[in-house]
Amino acid sequence: MKRTKKIAQYGLTVALALVLSYVEAQVPPFFAIPGVKLGLTNVVVLYALYVMGVKSALLINIIRILLVGAMFGNGVSLMYSLAGGILSWIAMVVLKECFKFHIVAVSVAGGVFHNIGQILVAMILLQTKAIAWYFLILWFTGIAAGVLIGVICGNIVKRATASTVR
């Protein structure tokens, strides 16, 4: 890929991820539990993983997390996001590259491991094991959100790779 095209593509995907982060933050939590969310930005990360490559996906995700943290968050929320983002990236890469899983399953792993990362940070920060209940809920909502995002992104990847733009 030409360098200019690469720069443009990174810019576009990071911008899209930022917009989706913002959109998601505007949705009132429909579950009374923090952390239960759709993970719309994972659409972008998944897309990058499949279309642009493993390294690009990590880079875009980290840039997105740092920018969102700087604009809307604070140091603590940054830690949660980073732990979730990196752990989910590892899980998705392993399933995709080593086991050749379908995008929906990769997305589910991403959702679940994102939540695991956040729970781990919460355990460290709050010094408590009392979040077992919380963990269970996030486990299941992570699976559900992962399926949804995987189906959405599967369609996007199919269309994007079929077009001549690439």
Binding site: A32, I33, L125, L126, W133, W139
Partner: protein, 128 residues
Amino acid sequence: MELLRKYKKEVIFIAALIVSGLALLVGVLLFSKEGGQVVVTVSGNEVASFSLDEDRTYLIEGKDGGTNLLIIRDGKAHMESASCPDGLCINMGKIHAAGQSIICLPNEVVVSVEKSQPSADDVDIVVH
């Protein structure tokens, strides 16, 4: 059915996740006992603990001046109000079983139900 065969490993993977989640749920349910005590921690430090049997109202002073109002009534504990903008801890409902908790991330407050500490009366003998 053909879809199932085509994506066999994916289906197995997601099914395994759901089954292990259910196993975790069963484990937590089995090991959770009726709690007797509410423990309040702020940033990992225990600041207060109360019995669930006595009704009371307690203002928790969280991190950076944030506050949460904890109410214990009829053997259950809940957050009545909070200084944080989202107020998610209020929506987390009432808790009473050991292991359940209400968490306020902005104020780093954790309210959890634990088994009653054995009181001094339960001690058979103390040897010095």
